[in-house]
C-alpha cells in the first residue's frame, strides 16, 4: 500500500471532515444516540428504497396478483435478510478503506477482472435505468401526463438534487423522495387485507400455488433480483465513503442498513398484499404493466387506491433513477481516477455529474422512441440482476476477507458461511431459471 504522507486537500475532503465533526460532536449526546444515528442514517435506507424500484414493485405486484400472499410474503422477508448480509459487507469494506467498490476491484484484481465487473455493472445499470423511465412514464401516464413531460420532469429533479454539490443535501432530498415508497401501505390497506391471513402466511410458510412452474421460477428470481443487485454494492460502498464514515460508525451503519431493509421489506410486502385481490378473483395479470395494474386494481382499492399505486410506481422509478445513475457515476469516476464525489463542485466533478445525468438522459430518451419493444424487459431486468450477482459477490467476499484491506474488520467465520451460502443459493436460483427455460417439462 502506498499512502501519501501529506495529501493535497480537495473540497470533498473538507466537506467530509465537516460531516465527521458533526458526527463526533453528537456521539453520546441525545436520547440513546438518536442524534448521531440521524446523521449517519442514509446510505442503507437509500440503497434499499432505491432498489424498491419500478421493476421491483411491478415484480411484487405481479407476484401478489399471480400467487397471492401465502408463499411469497415469507420469501420476500428471506430475500431482504440476504440483502442485509450482503450490504453490510459492502459497507464494511467502504468504512475500512475509504474507497469505492470499483476502485478497489481495479486495484486489487487488475484491469482485466475489473473490466468484467464494470461491464456487468454498466450494462445492468443502464438496462435498469431504462425500466425506471418506463415505470415513470407508465405511473404518470395514468394521470394523463405526456411521456416527454414525465421524462423531462424526472431529469429536472435529478439535476436539482446534484446542483447543491453537497452529499448531505443530496442525501436529504433523495431520502425525502424515497420515503414516498410508503405509498404502497395505504394501497394495501385499501385492498382490505385479512390480517389473520397475513399473520398465518408469515408464520407458516405456505406452498407455492400451482407448484414450481417456469413462470413461478421467473417471478421468484425477479423477486430476488428486486432485493440484491450489483449496483447496490457499488452505491453502498461509494455512499459511506462519500459521507466520510469510518469503522467507528459501524454499529450505526449496520442499523441504517437494517432500517432500510425493514422499510423496504414492509413496502414490498404491501405491494404484494395490494394486488392479492386480483389473485383471489382469478384475474390473469401475467403481462400487466404499471398502468394496467392500477386500472385492474380500481374495483378492489377504489380510484384513490389505483391512483396511489400509479403514483407509487412513478416514485419508485424516480428514486431508483437517482440512486442507480449515482452508482454508475461513482464507479466510472473511481475507475478513470476522476473526481467522484457528490461533495465536489460541478466544475471539479463535471465528468462524474456528466455520467450521472448523461446516462439518465440517454435512458429517458430511449423510452420516448416510438415502438421500442421495451415493456418485455421490465420483469426480466430483475432476473438479469440476480444472474449477474454471483461474480459481484465473489469480488466482495474476497475483498472483505482481505487482511491488508480490512485488518481486524475482515469477515469472521459466520460472515463467510452466510456470504458463501448466499452466493451458492443465487447460483442455484440462476441454474433453476436456466432449466425452467431450456427444459420446462421438468417443472410441470
Amino acid at each position: 500500500m502506498s499512502e501519501p504522507p501529506h495529501a493535497v486537500l480537495a473540497p470533498e475532503d473538507i466537506q467530509r471532515a465537516r460531516d465527521r465533526q458533526a458526527i463526533e460532536q453528537s456521539r453520546g449526546r441525545g436520547f440513546i444516540g438518536l442524534r448521531m444515528l440521524m446523521l449517519v442514517l442514509g446510505p442503507g435506507v437509500l440503497v434499499f428504497l432505491g432498489e424498491n424500484d419500478a421493476p421491483s414493485m411491478l415484480s411484487y405486484a405481479a407476484t401478489g396478483a399471480q400467487f397471492g400472499i401465502g408463499f411469497f410474503l415469507p420469501f420476500v422477508l428471506v430475500t431482504f435478510a440476504i440483502a442485509w448480509v450482503v450490504q453490510e459487507m459492502a459497507a464494511r469494506v467502504g468504512l475500512a478503506t475509504g474507497q469505492g467498490h470499483a476502485q478497489l476491484i481495479f486495484a486489487r484484481f487488475g484491469r482485466f477482472w475489473g473490466g468484467f465487473a464494470m461491464l456487468d455493472l454498466i450494462a445492468g445499470n443502464f438496462l435498469t435505468l431504462v425500466t425506471e423511465f418506463i415505470g415513470i412514464r407508465a405511473g404518470l401516464g395514468f394521470f394523463g401526463v405526456a411521456p416527454v413531460v414525465a421524462v423531462a420532469g424526472t431529469l429536472a429533479v435529478m439535476a436539482l438534487a446534484i446542483s447543491t454539490a453537497r452529499y448531505r443535501r443530496w442525501e436529504q432530498m433523495t431520502l425525502g423522495l424515497a420515503l414516498g415508497n410508503a405509498i404502497f401501505l395505504p394501497v394495501a390497506l385499501l385492498a382490505h387485507p385479512s390480517l389473520p391471513a397475513i399473520g398465518q402466511a408469515l408464520l407458516r410458510w405456505g406452498p407455492l400455488p400451482g407448484g414450481f412452474k417456469p413462470s413461478s421460477v421467473t417471478l421468484m428470481i425477479a423477486d430476488i433480483g428486486a432485493t440484491v443487485t450489483p449496483w447496490m454494492l457499488f452505491f453502498q460502498q461509494g455512499a459511506v465513503t462519500d459521507k466520510g464514515l469510518t469503522l467507528r460508525d459501524l454499529p450505526s451503519v449496520r442499523l441504517d442498513i437494517l432500517i432500510g431493509s425493514v422499510l423496504a421489506a414492509l413496502f414490498a410486502m404491501a405491494a404484494i398484499v395490494a394486488t392479492a385481490p386480483l389473485f383471489a378473483h382469478g384475474i390473469s395479470a401475467g403481462n400487466f404493466q404499471a398502468a394496467q395494474f392500477a386500472e385492474a386494481l380500481q374495483p378492489y382499492v377504489g380510484p384513490i387506491g389505483a391512483s396511489l399505486f400509479a403514483l407509487g410506481i412513478f416514485e419508485a422509478g424516480l428514486v431508483a433513477a437517482i440512486t442507480i445513475a449515482t452508482a454508475s457515476a461513482y464507479a466510472f469516476g473511481e475507475v478513470i481516477g476522476h473526481a467522484h464525489s457528490l461533495n465536489n463542485r460541478l466544475r471539479d466533478g463535471w465528468l462524474f455529474y456528466g455520467v450521472l445525468l448523461g446516462s439518465a438522459v440517454l435512458a429517458g430518451l430511449l423510452t420516448l422512441l416510438p415502438g421500442a419493444p421495451l415493456e418485455e424487459i421490465v420483469i426480466l431486468v430483475n432476473v438479469v440482476a440476480t444472474l449477474a450477482m454471483p461474480p459481484a459477490l465473489l469480488f466482495l467476499l474476497v475483498m472483505v476477507n482481505d487482511r491488508a484491506l480490512m485488518g481486524a474488520a475482515r469477515n469472521g467465520v459466520l460472515g463467510n458461511v452466510v456470504g458463501i451460502g448466499v452466493t451458492v443459493f443465487l447460483i442455484g436460483c440462476g441454474l433453476a431459471f436456466g432449466a425452467s427455460v431450456v427444459a420446462p417439462s421438468w417443472f410441470n
Partner: protein, 59 residues
C-alpha cells in the same frame, strides 16, 4: 463548528490520504482464477438464456 480547527484539518488530511492511497494488486491463487472464469462462463450462459426468453416473448 469550527472548520479551521486542528481537528478539522487533521480529519480532512485523513480523508485525503484514504482517498489517494494506492492499493497494490493482490496475489491471486489459481483456484480463485478458475472460480472467476467459471462464474464468467455462468453469466454468459445465463444471459444467452435471457435472450431466448426475450425472443420467445417477442415472438
Amino acid at each position: 463548528m469550527d472548520i479551521n480547527s486542528p481537528d478539522h484539518e487533521q480529519d480532512a488530511q485523513f480523508f485525503a490520504r484514504r482517498r489517494l492511497t494506492m492499493w497494490p494488486r493482490r496475489d491471486q491463487s489459481s483456484a480463485l482464477t478458475v472460480l472467476f472464469w467459471a462464474l464468467r462462463l455462468y453469466v454468459v450462459v445465463m444471459l444467452a438464456i435471457v435472450v431466448i426468453v426475450v425472443r420467445r416473448a417477442a415472438g
